[in-house]
Amino acid sequence: MLKIREIGIFNFGPYRGKQQLILGEKDGVTLVYGENMRGKTTLLNAIRFALIGKILGRGERTLEPYRLMNSSAYSEGEREFGVALLMENDGEKIEVRRRCTVGEEPDRKLKIDTTAFVADVPQSQAETNDLLQQLMPEEISRFFLFDGELLQQYEELLMEESVAGEQIREAIEQILGIPVLLNARQDLGEVIERFSKAETREAKKNQATEKHAKNLEAVVERVKELKKDRDKLKEQEQDLADKKAAMDNALKRSSKTQAHMAKLEQAEERIVAIDAKCDAHKEEIRDLMKVGWLWPAMSKLREMESEILVAMETEAQKKAAANRARLIGELAKEAVEVGKCPVCFQECECDGLSLGDGSENEDPDSEASDRQDEANRIRQLSAIKRLLNHPDSGRAVTLMEEIMAIVAERAGLKQDIKDINLQLESEDVEELKQVQANYGPTNSALSECRRALKDNNRQIDEAQSSVNALRKRLRRASGSNQSEEMKRRELAEATRSIFEKSIGRFRDELRDRIEADASALFKKLTTEKQFSGLRINANYGLEIMRDDGGVQELRSSGAEHIVALSLVGALQRNSSLTGPLFIDSPFGRLDAEHRKNVVKALPGMAPQVVLLVYSDELDLQMARTELGASLLAMHRLERRTATHTQIDAN
């Protein structure tokens, strides 16, 4: 069992100078309180760096270790930082020291010296590497040193074909010790191959078996080639899966940048669309303006038109009155001359009366002028009517209003683009573009590789069946003269078959145990009484079961967190390696009751538990009450300056 007794850090992140965190020898829970930006994650990173030589940023992104040199120390000319872990593994004292020297700008090349001491005896580089690999293999470190906020990634285990899920599943199998059996099966395969070669060689010497032996040799050779192809394909698959997982992580990390870029693209597309609309409107307006130049004069023309019409009406009335007067005059003149009214035929006495015929008032010059005026008016009216016979300005006004609205919208969009570009300046757009460009091809290549692998496996199975059939024939042809090599090969095959079956059985048993342990822990942690436990799938993904026998499909962040903690606890209990549990921000979005349940369950999850929390995350009084004697110590990360945090300043 691995326990960390003491953590020594020097100019590491915000930890200026040499500092120590002593965890002691007893089993139990240690609390490390620190507010945001005080160095909780850095402390976890220091332990991870000491054990596996890597540092993780947010979202599991690997960071360059030189970034963890204390910036004040660096600017004051210091160039060294490091971490030392004093541990105990199954009663043996082990110390690991990593001392880093940062090179000069601009490269800041980092030199790292790593030394391990076993019982105070310094180990060689190779021994140190072996020891560290044995103490904490990188693949399983995620179950010992982790960011509580990342626990939701275990949800991936429920998704088939998920690359991240596949990686977690492999890590789970590693912590459970399955690779030991897998390695044994592989070694037996090599033994079988060796015996098989000898067996064939021997059979070729015998005339009765020579033909079968040669055929067998050819098919075995084919199986070998196919297996070589399979290995290559598996390597390729792993490589592509790693790349895809890295891209998935990069895409998750850059969700803000993606949103900005999508907004940018949207704004740019909108500008193209409204520009096209604006151009079409302008084209239409240009056509309209070929006749539209008349619009300003239109109202005056209409006014003139009605004035002319009024004048013509007046003139017509005037003419009618004159005609009436002339007619009456003519009638009166006739009555005087005849002595009788020509209309009613009554006699009248008009002796001596002399009357004109009504034409005395007519001025021939005035009449000519009136006719000229009338002709002018008719001509002008006709011209006005022709000029007014043009489309009105309504459509052009509407188009111009729309153009003005487009111009305003465009200005807004341009400002948005400027703002987004300003934000994007501080984001790694190029990396994201590269990831986005490579994502599709990588995904296709991965699918293609998996198809090829499936096809290859089918061919191997077919060839293997031929091998088995040929071996049977060879056995029959050998009669009672079975070679020693044949017997050895058959024994090795029988042994491998035992391992084959035991792997399957071991996996099933482990899954059952994990399901049972995780369910028991889950029931302690959850506050929902209707949840009856957890059900495990082939990937070690855990589904929440309700007491009505159904599966809880929709899971909140809190529920996801509780399920993940249950899985981690169950893995610790069933692991071939027992170690400390360091959790940064362990409570995620858990409510007070769930926090209490988690705190209560912590001592049962691992012998050594260290929680890195901020004060609002975990109430000390509650922790004391719930943990009782299991609470070993409480430490504080105190701010001295922005670049200096002191462990247990008081």
Binding site: L294, S299, A383
Partner: protein, 127 residues
């Protein structure tokens, strides 16, 4: 009408206004903008003044292909003997107005331009 102009020209400043109007994308040719200016000046009842040096832009055949300009001027000023001289002077007056319009609105706002035209007494009474 023998003394009438055979060509139409504009001053340097009005030439710039014509360019600005065409650049704004609302007119396909300067001649359309010049005729709009003429129409604006007529509608405002501007009294054209013959002055300053002008650069010839169009001959009257190009400027008034279907005779609408001439007819418009004669509608407004039936006694006019030199409609194209009148037209040239009105274009100049109108372009000054359009230059002021562009200055205050930044672009040609047709609705504003048409609303700025003084209404007749009858229209005022109606509206």
């Amino acid at each position: 009408m023998t003394d009438d102009r055979q060509t139409i020209g504009v001053s340097e400043k009005s030439g710039s206004t014509l360019e600005a109007l065409v650049d704004a994308g609302v007119f396909s040719q300067q001649v359309d903008a010049a005729k709009l200016a003429l129409s604006v000046a007529l509608a405002h009842g501007d009294e054209p003044v013959e002055s300053q040096e002008r650069t010839t832009k169009w001959n009257v055949g190009t400027f008034d292909q279907n005779g609408d300009v001439r007819e418009l001027i004669l509608c407004f000023k039936p006694e006019c003997q030199t409609p194209y001289r009148e037209a040239e002077n009105l274009v100049e007056c109108g372009l000054r107005r359009l230059a002021e319009h562009l200055e205050s609105h930044g672009q040609l706002d047709l609705e504003v331009l048409l609303n700025e035209i003084p209404k007749s007494q009858e229209e005022d009474a109606q509206g």
